[in-house]
């Protein structure tokens, strides 16, 4: 253990080190990216350096974690939960960068800045996981979002990309306004933007009962709900994910969501606490609506990217169930879930990339018909991802345990969320309707005559697919190390919450 005093600049720098590594790396990389004219080789070199920056970020995180750094109540949190979520984000960035090399080459996307934007977006996300102050939080959200808006429309020749980028930007700006207004109202009610100070203020009935605080929290939740794509703030998701280049859709579905959930968990456990019935109620309905909407609407989709984006909405719902539990166990479940979800979703997007022959068209499910007969490896990998997202035991690997621990967290909460657990299980059954449909199409439909097999995947994409499949299956067989890390980090980061006073009366 090494407590840091955040008021001393040198120690503040130490606390920020991983963020600084990634952010500084991104800026230097930007200089290098514009140094040379656009070319395939240059874009590739930038991508490799960007991956190096991510690895350096991982090293910095592990170094900080290993030193057992802690800090008192300051603008940023220095604890194990931050490190765990940072690692998940960096993993998502690495996978995105790796698959984008192939993708960009096929799509003739030469601009090297896009790799820089991934790194900058990542530094925003890492700021978000660290934020213990609403201002830092907002800074992180914006840094992340602006980079991602650009990434969505990075393919300038694609009208669908432009539409996607513009939609995301307009609606994102709209929701940021709500977030900012919420922050202002919370500040007005408590006189502070620090989460811990807000949490202390919340324990007085004068604050926790004041309409200003309530409206502030509601608007804060709107901001988060938009970022994690919770219903009814999810409508942008399918259009944006569908129009954006596949690797960046993956980044949005995984890393953006990871960062937003990390911040939401921190706000939930440190600022709001378990004192507010209404906050709990709002979370409850958000979770329920998101699970139902995401999983039910996905059934109709025959466009694989749209299907994956509805799937990501559904998973946001499952994660919100663990948030609703408002316990450290829930936080641990979220950390573990995010790993499984990142591996499976980005893996699935890697398969989408591998399937792409260089066209900017719709990724229709018919292209996957009989994939097993022409590219058995891809079909097997996709099947593992689908089963992992479904939460199937054994062949679905760690996906099963991810859902299992979320369910456990929901049922072990001080007010057991039995009804949410039932909705979770039922909507999971519904989700089999589209996950298994794709598996069925790949394995049981004949390959249509005249449909050319997808081009062979190249090194990095193959590596991403193989690694993620192996990790999913390995953690499925032997989840306890990952579970223990998640549990320990959550327990070390958040003080155990006091049971909510009239807990049982809350659940609708």
């Amino acid at each position: 253990m090494m407590p840091l005093d955040l008021s001393i600049p040198a120690q503040l720098t130490t606390a920020y080190l991983p963020d600084l590594v990634v952010m500084g790396g991104g800026m230097l990389l930007l200089l290098w990216a514009v140094w040379r004219p656009e070319s395939e080789a240059h874009s590739r070199s930038v991508a490799w350096i960007a991956m190096g920056v991510c690895l350096a970020g991982i090293a910095a995180v592990l170094w900080s974690w290993n030193r057992g750094l802690t800090a008192g109540n300051g603008a940023i949190a220095v604890d194990a939960f931050r490190w765990v979520t940072d690692l998940v984000i960096l993993l998502g960035m690495l996978m995105t960068l790796a698959i984008s090399v192939d993708f960009n080459q096929r799509m003739r996307l030469l601009a090297p800045e896009m790799h820089v934007l991934v790194v900058l977006a990542g530094s925003g996300m890492m700021l978000l996981t660290a934020a213990r102050d609403l201002m830092v939080l907002f800074l992180g959200v914006e840094l992340m979002s602006v980079s991602v808006y650009v990434l969505a429309g990075i393919d300038r020749r694609s009208s669908r990309g432009a539409e996607s980028s513009l939609k995301y930007f307009l609606l994102g700006a709209f929701s940021s306004a709500f977030l900012l207004y919420g922050i202002a109202l919370v500040y007005g009610a408590t006189g502070s933007t620090n989460l811990v100070t807000i949490g202390e203020a919340m324990s007085t009935p004068a604050v926790s009962g004041s309409p200003m605080m309530m409206v502030g929290l509601a608007l804060l939740l709107v901001g988060f709900a938009f970022k994690v794509a919770a219903a009814p703030f999810h409508m942008w998701t399918p259009d944006v994910y569908d129009g954006a280049p596949a690797p960046y859709s993956g980044l949005m579905a995984c890393a953006v969501k990871t960062a937003s959930f990390a911040a939401l968990v921190r706000v939930c456990l440190e600022a709001v606490g378990t004192g507010s019935e209404r906050w709990h109620l709002a979370l409850w309905w958000l979770a329920a609506a998101t699970m139902v909407v995401g999983n039910l609407f996905a059934i109709q989709q025959r466009n694989v990217k749209r299907m994956l984006s509805y799937s990501s909405i559904g998973h946001a719902g499952f994660l919100l169930v663990a948030v609703t539990a408002q316990t450290t166990e829930g936080a641990a479940a979220i950390a573990f879930y995010l790993v499984a979800y990142t591996l499976a979703t980005l893996g699935a997007f890697a398969v989408v990339v591998a399937m792409n022959g260089g066209s900017d068209g719709v990724t229709h499910v018919d292209e996957y018909a009989g994939l097993w007969t022409v590219r058995p490896g891809l079909a097997m990998a996709m099947a593992v991802y689908m089963l992992a997202l479904l939460g199937f035991p054994l062949v679905g690997g760690m996906g099963f345990f991810a859902k299992w621990y979320v369910l456990q967290a929901a049922l072990h909460a001080s007010a057991p969320q039995t009804r949410l657990a039932i909705i979770l299980v039922l909507t999971t059954v519904v989700s089999a309707g589209f996950y298994l449909y794709l598996v069925m199409v790949m394995f049981m439909r004949p390959r249509p005559e005249g449909l050319a097999p997808p081009p062979p995947a190249t090194g990095l994409t193959r590596l991403v697919i193989a690694t993620s499949v192996v990790l999913i299956l390995a953690f499925g067989l032997y989840p306890s190390p990952a579970v223990k890390v998640a549990q320990r980090s959550a327990a070390a980061s958040f003080a155990p919450a006091a049971p909510r006073p009239t807990a049982s009366a809350v659940a609708p």
């Binding site: 709500f178 509601a218 709900a225 219903a231 709002a282 039910l296 609407f297």
Partner: protein
């Protein structure tokens, strides 16, 4: 938990993880090598075999080697080295562990834990191996006999296009079998238990493109599910009533249950149901004869020496449970005794050399269960060991015979008759003198002629049974109102009759196969010759073991009279594991020496009578070739058709189940109710909702912004309005 003070700490026993890991590496490499030929046409694919049309030519090798002679797999040299080497290396590690145990005299279990498998509430199952005297005996058998059979397989399977796949499966089998005997708790045993079942299925159906082989594999798998169901129920009951699943925990806590009570009896009976499935006891023995569809080394390793004895091992391992449930122990004795007799009678009239051995295996397993059921755990395990020696020898010898027959048919360009039917053999002694001699050693061993190994083990089972029938806790227990002493005496009588039958059918097999004139095709006869050394070598080693295996546990009586060595080595070795349970079931009583002598004389007399009777009455000259043989009549007809058990099961059980499943479960419930109403109904509903969803998803930013505003209003309302 690793016990620092344990005498085995710091010795080779800490390397126990290496024992299953080495074969596993073999499995991985061989499995990968086999993938390089995965898309070849199936070895027995009729469409790829232009000679498949001719008739009367069944059994293994049937068309394999005909079409693929000389076409060795491209990785054949590597597989030849790797496949056996990993098992031999594993045997060497096991031998080092055994030596460490001998040196330190460790008599308590040495448990090595490698991690937690299932932490769920207060149920905690660990990946743990237990090295103790019982598991080491099994490990040595599995890796030792396994090595010999792997070597034999090199000669036997070399020409097969699925050569790497065969060794991959065989190595994997060894892995799971080792997990089965090394597991320190019931769930780990169950992993091995299911794993060996899987490998058994894969190897029985190794030549899967022949429907009969694939069906035999499925039959074995399905019949075993019945037993596994029993094993699972036993574990559930154990967990809910005893509160532990590791051996130490169960042993410590089981005595809290009322001894002889319904719960402990139920646990033991369900465990025994599992054993009956895996070890082919009545009524679940039906899969084992069909399992002979697999390659002969598989029959030797899995269906004679190791896997099928897992049930015996499990009961010996659970001796502390059976000691508390005399009624369950008596059930084991009864089922074992009846199976032994029943299978022996069927063995009298089989013509397929492997079927004779299959029924003989079922019968000998019955003996082992009689032993462990009567609380003579040492005797049961002893017979397990000697049986592994001589039955592996018999199977490998039979494999060598089949190999020779097949090669002869092939090289002589003769009409291919059934290479496994004894009516087509005869007089092989001249062509295969080594195989002949080795198989006679095994035959004398299984018949129970001293000083061959089988004599000692079988005599110990029968002798203990007789002793228990008179004065023991088991004799005073009752089974469905019948006194235990009556049951034990009756089973002793049945055991003696079975010994007589064993001697008869084994001698019959030897006479028909090796003696008299050769009845093969005239063109094939000159081509009959001894197998290569890689096949006869393992036979020789097994012959030495079959001859001398009895020294492991010489009865005290014999050791007193003759200067042959220390008495009851195995008994003393296993004393710490099963001693308590043996005493609880058998008491301390000993037979007077004169009675014991009389029993031995009777047993030997019966065995000699059986052999003499067979030699006198069976004349190979009277046989005709299988194709020209007249149909059987009377009792012989019933025996040759195995009492029509399969037909009866098919008509009485399988067909009705199939009919009910079709009419009610499939058409009625599945198609009508589940598919029609629930699946399609809910799917239609979900699609309807999804359609609405896709309408709402208009693609217009303005609409989305309105949805957000709506959401904001709802959330703010929820947070503020009371």
């Amino acid at each position: 938990m690793m016990d620092a003070a344990h005498p085995l700490a710091g010795t080779a026993a800490e390397l126990v993880w290496l024992v299953p890991l080495l074969p596993f590496l073999g499995f991985v490499v061989n499995g990968l090598l086999s993938l390089s030929s995965a898309y070849l046409p199936g070895p027995l694919d009729p469409s790829s075999d232009p000679t498949a049309g001719h008739s009367g030519h069944t059994g293994e090798f049937a068309s394999v080697q005909m079409t693929h002679h000389g076409h060795r797999h491209r990785w054949e040299p590597l597989v030849t080295i790797l496949g056996p080497a990993v098992v031999i290396a594993s045997f060497l590690v096991s031998a080092a562990i055994a030596w460490a145990m001998l040196r330190t005299g460790a008599d308590t279990p040495f448990v090595q834990t490698y991690g937690t498998w299932m932490p769920a509430g207060n149920l905690k199952v660990e990946w743990a191996f237990q090295v103790d005297r019982l598991s080491m005996v099994m490990v040595l058998i599995i890796t030792g006999i396994g090595s010999l059979i792997h070597l034999f397989s090199v000669g036997y399977m070399r020409e097969d296009p699925g050569y790497p796949r065969f060794f991959a499966y065989l190595n994997l089998f060894v892995v799971f079998m080792l997990a089965l005997v090394l597991g320190a708790n019931y769930p780990v045993i169950f992993v091995g238990w299911e794993g060996v079942g899987l490998c058994s299925y894969l190897l029985i159906g190794f030549w899967f493109s022949d429907q009969a082989n694939a069906d035999a594999g499925k039959k074995a798998f399905i019949v075993n599910r019945v037993g596994d169901f029993g094993f699972l129920i036993a574990m559930f009951l154990m967990w809910s009533n005893v509160g532990a699943l590791d051996f130490a925990g169960v042993a410590a806590k089981a005595s809290q249950l009322p001894a002889g009570g319904a719960m402990i009896t139920a646990i033991c009976l369900f465990l025994f149901l599992g054993c009956a499935g895996k070890s082919a006891q009545m009524p679940l023995y039906i899969w084992l004869p069909d399992a002979m569809a697999g390659p002969t080394p598989v029959s030797a390793l899995i269906h004679a020496a190791t896997m099928v004895t897992a049930g015996v091992y499990l009961i010996a391992r659970s001796s502390f449970l059976f000691a508390l449930a005399p009624a369950a122990s008596l059930t084991v004795v009864i089922v074992g005794g009846i199976t032994a007799f029943f299978a022996a009678t069927i063995g009298l009239k089989q013509w397929d050399i492997k079927k004779v051995l299959a029924y003989s295996t079922v019968s000998q397993l019955g003996y082992m269960f009689v032993g462990v059921g009567a609380g003579a755990f040492t005797a049961g395990v002893f017979h397990l060991v000697t049986h592994a020696f001589f039955k592996a020898l018999l199977f490998l010898g039979a494999g060598s015979v089949i190999h020779a027959m097949h090669e002869a048919y092939h090289e002589g360009h003769a009409h291919h008759d059934d290479a496994q039917d004894m009516r087509n053999m005869g007089g092989l002694r001249k062509a295969m003198p080594f195989t002949w001699a080795f198989m006679w050693i095994a035959t004398l061993a299984i018949a129970g002629i001293p000083p061959f190994s089988g004599f000692f083990s079988k005599d110990e089972i029968l002798g203990t049974l007789f002793a228990r029938a008179h004065d023991s806790p088991l004799a005073s227990a009752t089974w469905l109102g019948i006194p235990g002493s009556t049951i034990l005496t009756a089973i002793y009588g049945l055991g003696l009759v079975t010994a007589l039958l064993t001697a008869i059918y084994m001698t019959r097999m030897m006479i028909y196969t090796f003696h008299g004139e050769n009845r093969s095709d005239a063109k094939a006869t000159p081509h009959l010759r001894e197998a290569p050394w890689i096949m006869t070598g393992p036979l020789a080693v097994l012959a030495v073991l079959s001859l001398s295996g009895g020294w492991l546990n010489i009865p005290a009586l014999v050791a007193e009279r003759f200067p042959v060595g220390t008495a009851e080595l195995l008994h003393h070795w296993l004393e710490p594991v099963v001693g308590q349970a043996t005493a609880a079931l058998g008491g301390e009583g000993h037979l007077p020496a004169s009675t014991e002598e009389a029993l031995i004389l009777v047993a030997v007399g019966v065995a000699i009578a059986g052999i003499a009777g067979a030699v006198l009455f069976l004349k190979p000259a009277r046989l005709t070739r299988a194709a020209a043989a007249p149909p059987e009549r009377g009792v012989a007809w019933v025996l040759a058709n195995k009492y029509f058990v399969d037909e009866f099961l098919n008509k009485g059980l399988i067909q009705p189940v199939v009919r009910v499943s079709r009419a009610v479960l499939w058409r009625g419930i599945d198609v009508g109710l589940i598919d029609g109403l629930m699946v399609n109904g809910s799917a239609t509903f979900a699609r309807g909702v999804a359609w609405v969803g896709s309408r709402v998803q208009s693609g217009l930013v303005g609409n989305y912004a309105w949805a957000i505003v709506l959401g904001v209003l709802v959330l703010v309302g929820m947070m503020t309005i009371r």
